[in-house]
Symmetry: C2
Subunit: 380 residues, 2 copies
């Protein structure tokens, strides 16, 4: 932490960072006084399902009342997403995206996975492409055809269809492929085939792993050289060591664990002791984590995992950038993108010591203060 | 829940509530379009320690890293609060209070308890009186001289001093007395004597009970007819039944349990099964819960207790008003105060289904839209 810090951004990139007293005169440019607020790199959110239609409030509330979550609720969203046009999906996702940017997120990974036919998955990739173009953030697009086997489909046939769709997904802008490898979803063998096909097509790979049960998905992520394995509530020390040895980033999604009410937060220590680099993410989705705030995730991670604040901030920026294999975001050193979140906090510790999520005073994207054109307000 | 609802406030009080289509023409008055947002009674926060000086960020962060919380940190705040003038304390507490109102709180209970000498406790009551006068909310003042035995004091002597100060506290505006009755703090017998003296002086009584260990404080609250017993992590079914029979409201403080990382959320079911009316509160304090947001508490209660949304909203409004024995707040029926929180939520379920705390679009106090004069902002 640098106190009384100043930062210079030119041409959208950081050119200097240090103590304000050491700032040299430079070219004329707008100055922003952060008024003592804590500045961190713009948040990197490495695991979201931002493109969806429909609402699942009732399911969420029912689950809190004690019903078991078996992933079946995804099919509700699939039906609504198939019925929606690309324009409708864009409007919904862009509103969520603007709120995310207002909360300091400047880089985001967005998955498909609610289309589950080649046509509908490619429609979602088109929406993701437009989200990358029309909003000022950096977007990484992930093909998640293997989110769940759609109802009424033969699973072997569906796996073949997912594999056959990979080249078109890559052509439509996907640079990543992901598989929900878990009990009741895709098996280790099915997942290995899909990941191999994705890698053969030049895509990077990542996994939903060890969320519902321990299946060995973490070991598979290590075996296949995935960039990240995400969720990991049921990871073992063996799986964690395999991830560490292979350089697989562990993406923790504390809001999901909280909303599923399992209080299974122990994976943090297992992964940390194994030396796995950790990232944090919202997992923004309509069923288990309609969350658009990385500051909320950072605070929650400190509380539920006992994660130190500086580590949580690192995981929400640099660690998350590593999960996406990006070098120029998630840090504020020279040549990094000029993306900054100004937190409503006077001190790093206030990120967690002020319960209720600190929120952002401002988000700076490539050197520009971002204005939310759709901030809600009422007046008499 | 009334859909497409309208509400008429006249002279600071609710005069009509119903479907907008049934609204009759009335006297000219400003109209506020809630634009589909959920309107609830202004939140009632029945347990806060709002008057303090100094910061305890380091203690908070250290505790997350695994240190045990033994209440000793209170003395840090006591030293800073004694050193501060009433004016300094007012400025600090008023800033917190304005943020609370921005988050929808329109009625608040505020305790002393960081002075712990007669002079400093009365200074804090003066500050609470000014918070009641200068901010537009309704304030209930509580004398908590029995927060902890100050370091260096003989405990029997200190209990006598607390008892001797009660009449002056009542004269300085306190209408309630509270005791931290727990292991390592005040015993059942000491607490009974203090509560009896408070009741003899005409004060209502409430208790910090069963937080650190099971001591029988819930039974004492029932025996003494306290308005509420608060915390209750270690309450037994027997204590809960005693509370229910005596009409003692249980005040739940989920942020504290979360920040202490005990994950001891089971008291909710124990209290609910016994039929105890439940309230929710921030416990706003510098050590375990620097929280100024009732919407955050409501959301967290749903998540950690599995509390239904409508019940959590009831507990944060009507239940909390019951804990303070107030009849005209915490509800929106005719003759209630015209206090309304407009939540940033389109549907009741969004209060919890949108993780990250919904926040408020606007707070209406006695019919007036409240403007925060000190909302933070930065601009280029």
């Amino acid at each position: 932490m640098i106190e009384d810090a100043a930062l210079r951004i030119e041409g959208g990139a950081v050119v200097w960072l240090g103590r304000e007293q050491d700032l040299q005169p430079g070219p004329d440019a707008p100055e922003l006084d952060a008024q003592g607020a804590v500045a961190v790199p713009g948040f990197v959110d490495p695991h979201t399902h931002l493109v969806w239609a429909g609402v699942r409030r009732e399911e969420f509330v029912a689950r809190l009342a004690g019903e078991q979550y078996d992933g079946g609720g995804i099919t509700t969203t699939v039906a609504a997403t198939r019925a929606a046009t690309a324009e409708e999906l864009f409007v919904l996702a862009a509103a969520r995206g603007r709120r995310m940017i207002a909360n300091g997120t400047t880089t985001v990974e967005i998955k498909t996975g609610y289309g589950l036919t080649p046509t509908d998955e490619l429609k979602c990739l088109d929406v993701i492409g437009r989200l990358a173009k029309d909003l000022p953030w950096l977007v990484e697009a992930t093909y998640l055809g293997a989110h769940v086997v759609p109802p009424g489909r033969d699973r072997a046939e569906y796996v073949e269809e997912v594999i056959a769709t990979i080249p078109a997904a890559a052509a439509a802008g996907a640079t990543w492929a992901d598989v929900f490898c878990d009990e009741g979803v895709f098996t280790i063998d099915e997942t290995r085939r899909i990941l191999q096909a994705a890698q053969d097509a030049g895509l990077g790979t990542r996994l939903h792993a060890e969320e519902i049960a321990h299946t060995g998905a973490a070991d598979l992520a290590a075996e296949m050289g995935c960039a990240s394995a995400d969720h990991l509530e049921h990871v073992t020390a063996e799986g964690a060591h395999a991830m560490a040895a292979a350089g697989v980033v562990g993406v923790l999604l504390p809001t999901v664990t909280l909303s599923l009410r399992t209080f299974a937060f122990g994976q943090y220590q297992v992964l940390r002791e194994a030396g796995v680099p950790l990232a944090l993410s919202t997992d923004c989705n309509p069923g288990t984590s309609w969350c658009e705030s990385m500051p909320y995730v950072v605070q929650l991670a400190c509380l539920v995992y006992g994660m130190p604040v500086h580590e949580a901030l690192w995981s929400a920026t640099r660690g998350a950038a590593m999960a996406l294999q990006l070098r120029d975001v998630g840090r504020l050193s020279p040549k990094a993108r000029g993306d900054v979140a100004l937190l409503n906090a006077e001190h790093e510790a206030d990120v967690v010591a002020r319960l209720g999520a600190p929120g952002c005073l401002a988000t700076i994207v490539r050197g520009q203060v971002w204005q939310n054109p759709a901030a809600p307000s009422v007046s008499a």
